[in-house]
């Protein structure tokens, strides 16, 4: 079982400079063979480039073989970011997001966590973390590897946050980066996909994974992060035609619906 050891010996490697970690780092972890698809037909699995991943209803992906959990777009301290601009949103989003993350981590007990970028809402957001929230992050990082992938909101992160900072991670056939490029085998975030489904005059809007079997865009995990309709042109650019699937996060199960049926 390959584990992230070399680049981050003691939690952070040669990629730091001063107090901020450079964003150019690239982590590649080879794996022997793509594991065979498992759980075929089960709704809660997504297949990306032949790899089967568990889609958690909280909006996380879990790669069982690698014991790897991926979450995207936490947007921590979004509330205080707005507050600094005069919109005094309740300052409870960070604690809400972290407690949901804690629940997901407890459920899967991963050996590695990848936060797929925009983990912090702005460049100085990490400075505004309260000490309990900071401690909560440290507790989640204990006994596991942790990779912060840089996003457009948080292009540089300090070394005292724990974990490793990277711009991309490749594990076997899968590459993890923040902004989707449309490349095969890519798992990205950034777009906050959501889908609106209408049946019999009733309409429901939920966050979703957007996936066509070769690439996926993850839903935003943060408590205050809204969404972008998967019918937006941004998704067409990544998936080409609307022939991709919205895996919509329901209350009790994942609903896989053709994107063309959503709004």
């Amino acid at each position: 079982m390959p584990l992230l050891t070399s680049p981050c010996g003691e939690g952070r490697g040669g990629v730091t400079q001063g107090s901020l970690t450079l964003t150019q780092s690239f982590i590649a972890i080879p794996i022997p063979d793509p594991s065979p698809q498992r759980g075929g037909g089960k709704q809660s699995h997504l297949t990306i480039a032949g790899i089967s991943l568990v889609a958690d209803l909280h909006g996380a992906l879990f790669w069982e073989d690698q014991s790897l959990l991926v979450v995207s777009d936490l947007h921590l301290e979004k509330g205080s970011s707005f507050a600094a601009r005069g919109v005094l949103l309740p300052p409870y989003d960070t604690v809400a997001t972290l407690s949901r993350l804690a629940a997901v981590i407890a459920r899967h007990d991963p050996r590695m966590v990848i936060a797929l970028g925009d983990s912090f809402h702005d460049r100085t957001a990490h400075e505004r973390l309260s000490s309990p929230d900071r401690a909560a992050i440290a507790a989640l990082q204990a006994r596991r590897d942790w990779i912060w992938i840089c996003g457009n909101h948080d292009p540089a992160l300090p070394s005292d946050l724990g974990g490793v900072v990277a711009s991309e991670v490749a594990i076997g056939p899968i590459s993890f980066r923040h902004e989707p490029t449309g490349a095969a085998g890519e798992i990205a975030g950034h777009l906050h996909p959501k889908a609106r489904v209408t049946t019999r005059g009733r309409s429901m809007e939920r966050r979703c994974f957007a996936c066509d079997g070769e690439r996926a865009v993850m839903p935003a995990f943060g408590a205050y992060t809204g969404g972008l309709s998967i019918r937006d042109a941004a998704f067409a650019k990544i998936f080409g035609t609307p022939g991709f699937i919205a895996h919509v996060l329901g209350d009790h199960r994942l609903h896989s619906i053709a994107a063309s049926r959503c709004y």
Partner: protein, 886 residues
């Protein structure tokens, strides 16, 4: 004692062959006694002139009898004149064009009443009267109407309006050189009060005239207005108010609105009631057609409605919802062989289009206007000779106000015809006609002031002169809706405005208002002031999308480029469009259109050739059946002799119900259970309006779920609620496994309600409204204008987080208070549940009862509509009716 009216006025009245009306003189008398007054008068009673007469008289004389000499008089040589001596102005010096409210800058200096204060500073004599109207069009219209007497009497009075459309240059000039009379809206007043000039501008103010007060006080705009009044009482203690109102249920409480409340005492303005209005002539359309069991379209009576329009000069046809207006308009035109000029008017139509209709109406060019409550208020048209009210009247006062739109001459009776669209509405129309005959009113009681509005006001105050907490608290409590405000709530609101009011005190450094060393609160930076100014007001619209007409790209599924631009048809609720699928057709702006494309805030539609459309589902309108009319309907049902006044079809229907099940008694709750098509139904008849019934349905199904009755759904109308499920409710009741008293116990408003509110979309909508009004989030942004869709967070998510982490936050409390009286109607539900305790009557039936048919027909109605589905519905109806009457 002097005559109340100076000679010049008497002459003016006489020249027109008029005599001053009693209530007009009474208001002059109140003004002379230095009293505030509430004038209650029907439309057509010369209300507006009555409201302005004290002002006109005072300004014609030069000053109010009881007030000290105004600045401008003190500093002029003429200031030595005796008190009360008319200040005679040469009409030549004030030609009427100069008094026009549309006059531009600079002209004020040409007036001789602008005098030097001796230091080369020009100053007018200051603002004398402020007129507040709920509609900006009304303010403009009143300005026009005031000019006539002013010009004809040659009075030295300058009248101007100030609305959102007033150019910036004139607004600035108005603040420095105010007119004598300023006509404006509550929002503009709030803006003026938040400016640094407010003390200067308002210190001279003598009178406030509040028009359509009955309409203003029922909403949060009324709360805002009351707080602005409190401000004015502080800035200008000498000011006296005149409220103009239609007849209301509780005039005494409305009169409190007009004067400052003192701790522990209830103060009220004097009430003047204008009498002498001819009672209206109201009748119910006695249709020759078969009366439908359900539905709200009144299609059965189309021909008769058309005939009414044809037989009268000008008719206003009121319906309860926009979609009904659209449908009726279409239907009328389909049969309009005489090419009668029939127009459409509702709030979602483009403003330009609405103005066109109003102008055509004023010019007497229209024979009929199909309209919604968008025409409940507004500019007077003398020539309407008939009001046709389609569907349920909903409330007695509402109906009387609508009827008052016909024939604005007080001594002639207004005429109205009520057209019930179904059998229950016949009952409602019947009791509404009785209520009108008795002049019985059912306007809602005075609101208690909302905390989100207070938050907006507090920020506004901090934008002007800095304030002390204690002083502002005392000031706010002089406003009648806030007279009972607690110090805790007030402090929470101030805390909210400053730093968000969060238990987690992490936003001190981001405070929007800050205290100086003397404890005075002021706004922290100019950007916050700017944002306040952009977002003032309490009208939070449903998210709307602009509807543009483009050419169809034909076919479906194609995503090719669509011609942009296109004619603007108006605006439509986002929620409605979200319920559609591309290619669906609906009626809008009097045309059948096809939904083609959605982008940002625009919906693109093309003209559809189909004559049948998927029309917006019936939303029941904004206003539920009033408690008062509901009670009268229950009384009518209970009084078998009164049934004789009902049409045969309705009487037969009730008789069938009596024989087969039971007709609900006045105070009891009738519950029927019966099986139908493998499901089990429970129908109850609370008569508390659709909103309260929906809430009841939500809560009942939760309880039934727990009781393992496996409920599947429910549907509500204004009179009844039907719940269905898989469990055999009749069996369970018969064997004591289901206790109806426990099921309908008021304790459902405890935990069940809380649990439901946690996830209710309605509650989230109310939270969003509170967040916008309180200023937590902005509707309009400084800098470049952004649309709502670009706001980067969702208030629903904020609601979820806040509810979990600080459930008693002031904004959640504000949203809850709205829920109690607004969309959830919790108060009414609570009252009903208490009323029926120990009075539940159960009937176990073999099949659906005649009384249950209407609500049963609502099932499935939400998703299908239009011609084809009407047929389906008709089939279903026939089947049900056969069953009920078998």
């Amino acid at each position: 004692m002097d005559a109340l009216l100076p000679d010049r006025f008497l002459g003016w009245f006489a020249a027109r062959g008029w005599t001053p009306r009693e209530h007009q003189l009474a208001l002059l008398g109140k003004a002379r006694q230095d009293r505030s007054a509430l004038l209650i008068a029907p439309t057509g009673a010369g209300k507006t002139l009555a409201g302005f007469l004290p002002t006109l008289v005072e300004l014609s004389i030069g000053r109010a009898p009881s007030s000290p000499l105004p600045l401008w008089e003190r500093s002029t040589p003429e200031g030595r004149r005796e008190r009360g001596e008319p200040r005679v102005q040469s009409p030549v010096a004030y030609p009427s064009p100069q008094l026009s409210p549309t006059r531009e800058e600079g002209a004020h200096s040409a007036h001789s009443y602008v005098v030097s204060t001796g230091r080369g500073v020009q100053r007018s004599r200051g603002l004398h009267t402020l007129y507040i109207s709920p509609l900006k069009a009304l303010a403009v219209d009143i300005a026009r109407n005031l000019e006539t007497p002013i010009a004809q009497m040659g009075l030295p009075i300058k009248v101007e309006t100030r609305t959102g459309d007033t150019p910036v240059s004139r607004r600035q000039r108005q603040r420095r050189y105010p007119p004598d009379i300023l006509l404006t809206t509550p929002e503009q007043l709030a803006l003026l009060l938040s400016s640094d000039d407010a003390p200067f501008l308002f210190s001279s103010l003598k009178r406030i005239v509040l028009d359509e007060l009955h309409a203003l006080v029922t909403s949060k705009r009324g709360d805002l207005l009351s707080l602005d009044l409190a401000r004015l009482w502080k800035l200008a203690p000498q000011v006296r108010a005149i409220g103009l109102s239609a007849t209301v249920a509780e005039p005494d409480s409305l009169a409190r609105f007009l004067v400052p409340q003192r701790d522990g005492h209830s103060e009220a303005a004097d009430i003047v009631v204008a009498g002498g209005a001819a009672p209206p002539l109201v009748e119910m359309l006695d249709s020759r057609e078969r009366l439908p069991w359900a539905g709200h379209t009144a299609r059965h009576a189309l021909g008769e409605i058309y005939d009414l329009i044809k037989r009268n000069k000008t008719s206003l046809v009121f319906v309860n919802t926009r979609s009904q207006a659209e449908m009726l308009f279409q239907d009328l035109w389909r049969m309009n062989d005489d090419n009668l000029a029939i127009a459409l008017h509702h709030g979602s139509l483009d403003v330009g289009q609405r103005r066109k209709v109003e102008d055509a109406m004023a010019a007497g060019k229209l024979r009929g206007v199909v309209c919604t409550s968008s025409l409940d208020l507004g500019v007077d048209w003398g020539d309407v000779d008939l009001v046709i009210n389609i569907g349920a009247p909903k409330g007695a006062s509402r109906l009387m106000q609508r009827i008052g739109r016909a024939n604005h001459r007080i001594d002639e009776a207004s005429r109205a015809v009520l057209v019930p669209a179904n059998r229950f509405e016949v009952l409602e129309c019947r009791v509404a006609i009785d209520a009108v005959a008795e002049n019985a009113q059912d306007t809602p009681p005075l609101r208690s002031g909302a905390l989100d509005v207070l938050a907006q006001h507090v920020l506004g105050c901090a934008c002007g002169e800095p304030f002390l907490t204690d002083e502002l608290f005392a000031e706010v409590r002089t406003a009648a809706p806030y007279a009972a405000l607690t110090r805790t709530d007030f402090d929470d609101v101030v805390d909210f405005v400053a730093t968000g009011g969060y238990a987690l005190k992490s936003y001190e450094r981001f405070a929007r208002i800050k205290q100086d060393s003397a404890g005075r609160w002021r706004v922290a930076n100019p950007k916050i002031r700017q944002s306040y100014r952009l977002n003032v007001g309490t009208i939070v619209e449903e998210p709307m999308l602009k509807v543009r007409l483009v050419r169809s790209r034909g076919g479906s599924g194609s995503t090719g480029a669509l011609g942009r631009g296109g004619r603007m048809l108006g605006e439509i609720e986002e929620a409605f469009i979200e319920g559609l699928v591309l290619g669906d057709t609906f009626v809008f702006g009097g045309e059948v259109v096809r939904y083609e494309h959605l982008s940002e805030d625009q919906v693109y539609v093309s003209r559809a050739n189909d004559s049948d459309a998927k029309v917006p589902s019936y939303m029941g309108g904004k206003f539920p059946l009033s408690t008062y009319l509901a009670e009268r309907v229950r009384n009518l049902l209970d009084d078998k002799r009164a049934w004789n006044a009902l049409p045969d079809q309705v009487r037969d229907w009730l008789s069938l119900q009596k024989d087969f099940s039971r007709v609900p008694g006045v105070r009891e709750l009738l519950i029927e259970t019966f099986p139908r098509a493998n499901k089990h139904y429970l129908v109850c008849y609370p008569f508390e309006g659709r909103l309260a019934h929906q809430t009841l349905g939500m809560l009942l199904t939760r309880r039934m779920e727990r009781a393992k009755m496996r409920p599947l759904g429910f549907v509500a109308n204004e009179y009844a609620l039907a719940v269905w499920g898989l469990g055999d409710m009749s069996f369970m009741i018969r064997h004591g496994k289901l206790d109806l008293a426990a099921l309908f116990d008021p304790d459902m408003l405890g935990d069940d309600l809380e649990a439901w509110l946690a996830e209710s979309a309605l509650m989230k909508r109310m939270f969003r409204t509170a967040a916008v009004i309180s200023g937590l989030i902005a509707r309009r942004f400084t800098g470049e204008e952004k649309s709502r869709r670009q706001v980067l967070f969702s208030t629903d998510l904020v609601y979820d987080v806040l509810r979990k982490h600080q459930g008693d936050h002031v904004l959640l409390r504000a949203a809850r208070a709205d829920a109690a009286t607004g969309l959830l109607d919790l108060k009414r539900l609570g009252d009903m549940l208490s009323r029926i305790q120990g009075r539940i009557v159960h009937r176990e039936l073999e099949h659906v009862s005649p009384l249950a048919v209407p609500v049963m027909l609502e099932i499935g109605r939400e998703s299908v509509y239009g011609e084809a589905s009407d047929e389906l519905l008709a089939e279903a109806a026939d089947e049900l009716v056969r069953e009920a009457t078998s």
